[in-house]
Amino acid sequence: MMVDSVLKAVRVVGDRTLKIVERIGATVTFLALILVHSATPFKRPSLIVREVYYAGVQSLIIILVSGLFVGMVLGLQGHETLQKYGSEESVGVLVALALVREMGPVVSALLFASRAGSAITAEIGLMKATEQLSAMEMMAVNPVARVVAPRFWGGVLSMPLLALLFSGMGIFGGFVVAVVLIGVDNGAFWSQMQAAVDFRQDVVNGIIKSLVFGVAVSAIATFEGYEAPPTAEGVSGATTRTVVTSSLAILALDLLLTAFMLKGWN
């Protein structure tokens, strides 16, 4: 009996693992399918512009406000600790490096996943539930090319811009707290920052990160919507899965990318 229950438990673990692997595989296959059907949105850029509006412009407020707050908190906390070592001016370096390397791409991608990713999933899932996608197929319009690919590219294009705005706004927030409110020297704040932040190593790597996150979030969001069971529960479950899966994907990819960027690619 004992052996049976242990075997059963192991079987459950194996089943779960295989389902996760299957899900990852299906998402990557779907990503390939989107790329194959990407000619349509690039021939009609107005389709992508519309999605950039809904994914990017509509996320602007939450990204800018969060960036400002994160930057201000970094400024306060950084100043508090650096003060003990008598190097308050380095607060600019701390804020800028933390934002440009990590917080900008990661936090804006997490916000993007919950703000825009979930909306994309719900929209596509509902289109499927109300058989709008099947109707398109009946009219010989490929729903992946007409509905999914524009949303994917809209997300991929919006993500780096949002991450850059997040970092920029955060550095402004750090500046307001450290220089305007606390009174750290303005010149030292910026000059130490410029000496420490490298364009290629820090800024460009941050943009690469946000591009990768944009691809991951958009692929997961469109996949979950497209594969959602055509019911009310199905769509709500898919929306939740989009947020959970893309958040995990962002953090895991961030670890991988950071490890490679710090240690070099070879």
Binding site: S46, V49, R50, V52, Y53, G56, V57, L60, A96, V100, S158, P160, L161, L162, L164, L165, S167, G168, M169, I171, W190, M193, Q194, A195, V197, D198, F199, D202, V203, I207
Partner: protein
Amino acid sequence: MERSTLNLWVGFFVLLGFMAFLMLAFKVGNLSFGSSGKTYSVSAHFDNIGQLKERAPVRSAGVLVGRVSSIHFDAVHYNAEVRMSIDEQYHFPTDTSASVLTSGILGEQYIGLDAGGDDKMLKNGDEIKLAQGAMVLERLIGQFLFNKAQDGNTAKGAEK
């Protein structure tokens, strides 16, 4: 939503993102049009480079004039060969001396160049002959103790 309003908002968004990129590149990062970007390479052999790293600054009179481009171990002379790229707008005499210095007490290490008085200038690929390596704390203390002990001995010898 009307097409033109949509385009306006997206255009606004893209321009804003581009402005953030420019701010990060020029105001926050160190990308600038100021330096010509053209450099010439000189090398120097140090007996010890301490914590010197690639891309460390090369300064003369405290001003950044170049960066360390590569550090190798010279298996023939058993010392460290450091190549540095110096900005083309700065020229140094051939008898310039290079030393590994530290900024502040806990700061990063950099190479300091002290110009000599020669008429000839260093060219691409030249070697700086006068090179002083990094100070190693243990050796400094050892030398200090050794000198102290010797002072004591000579003082005793003088008494006798």
